[in-house]
Symmetry: C2
Subunit: 322 residues, 2 copies
Amino acid sequence: MPEHGGNLDVAVARFGGSAQDWIDLSTGINRQAYPVGDLPMTCWTALPSKSALNALHIAAQKAYRTEAPILATHGAQAAIQLLPQLCSAGNVRILGPTYGEYAAVFSAAGLQVTETSDLDALAGADLAVVVNPNNPDGRRHHPDRLLALLPRVGRLVVDESFADAVPDLSLASQAGRPGLLIIRSFGKFFGLAGLRLGFVIGAEADIVKLAAMAGPWPVSGAAIAIGARALSDRAWANAASARLSRDSLRLDAQVAPLGWSLVGGTPLFRLYETGDARTAQEKLARGKIWSRIFEGRAGWLRLGLPGEETEWARLAAALRAG
Amino acid sequence: MPEHGGNLDVAVARFGGSAQDWIDLSTGINRQAYPVGDLPMTCWTALPSKSALNALHIAAQKAYRTEAPILATHGAQAAIQLLPQLCSAGNVRILGPTYGEYAAVFSAAGLQVTETSDLDALAGADLAVVVNPNNPDGRRHHPDRLLALLPRVGRLVVDESFADAVPDLSLASQAGRPGLLIIRSFGKFFGLAGLRLGFVIGAEADIVKLAAMAGPWPVSGAAIAIGARALSDRAWANAASARLSRDSLRLDAQVAPLGWSLVGGTPLFRLYETGDARTAQEKLARGKIWSRIFEGRAGWLRLGLPGEETEWARLAAALRAG
């Protein structure tokens, strides 16, 4: 399986401490999470009902500004894992470098996978994958360019896991067109990655097939209760978007004195060219701040945003230290 | 998709009230649930770590008395959904009548599925499925008989979703043998079906493949935290087993005056021959108690066990009513 951020086991094994000593900036998960609040006991005890799942789907459609068929999944990851069963033959082209699970999942299913950095080179694929905005480099594609690509591929998967704070980039309003599948992550923007909630939006025929594959209880009772509440809370989302946009620039400014330059990013994470990412990661790790580096990209270091002021202060101290 | 118990939407649509007015006895889910307790905030906010998942796996191995490789899944259902990818060609034989998802999932994957009521007729299958004890009729198979079947099939899936309270029936201690896969449900015995947690236990090669299919975050942070705690609490499990065994006999005694006879059952549910299940279901529904009936079995009514005394009293009143 590909490596991922968010696994503090590695940080603890290499640099000591216990997980709670660390500030995990190795992911793009919002560290000022949506408040979980009280949960009804039935969200634990009862099988999730169809009506509750339906209410979650409606809240997600509103939040993502779409009327197209939608399916909640056990994280965006579970939606990715289902894709090879939807498109079980042919060639897959992935716009890269990007989130490693796409290549891994399609390769494991025996499909031929090619990675290209050229959007136009996706044309002709039986299934093409674009992450927009992209992880880890923040590369963005105007919705019109992706719509122009759609008729030139068998299926176009647009992963919008980091689109919540840049909603104008989203193609969700166009979902329902044959061949277009949009994947959304709940946990990143709302800071609740442990809940495991994601969505796939697409044409009726595809969503019906995916729903059958996901089975009668695709997400937990807690995911339904918290997801429906959070996705309906536009005031929280607007405030979070504004804060994340401000804070991402604050982070850029904070690392600038070290000579790190911004490769790209989203309001949830920043990718810096540091010259020597391994050394930069170790410097931060001495302050128990965990970051993400990338095989084959010696200078790249990805940082999520600190949450509370104490975390910003610890990051500043770690950056200042010798 | 097959019909299932536990969907109060149907009860509400047909007989009125709202979900919280009903006592749901249409499933085999323990209505005296394991106390969820406090959860660390990180179980919501962080991606589940490999070390936490590993701790859950160890707790499950101890609880299920096995040292074989194990994988936590998003409910036993998610384990079932993965099976066709493990065994993608050949003929599937299912010992029935039983839980409808097996036939549905394998048929949807394009496999040839046969149901038989004769255990010996499973021999020769590429994949055979036995639910032990069986749902809905409680039919039981001695572990030795299943072990004798193992070399005569390609793979033997033994679903032990209702085995927690009858542990001597479990084949988990024999897991690890090539071709044997055991499926366990957490939510039924612990009364936490909304959590979505199950396990599959088997030979190293199979579990490695299933883990790759399930992806890096197969279960939620809450499932890991609550699951590890509950599976380690043998005092609770022993008390629950004893109570369920007593209460299942109490239920038999309570319905006996109506002339309903026990077809079979487990400590978590009972299947009665009522003569006319539709009428029996309606009688209970007038007291807002929901039960499960079965297409093609005009007399069968399945009842889970009431939880608190108030629920027993409401059941008694509904049974007495005209």
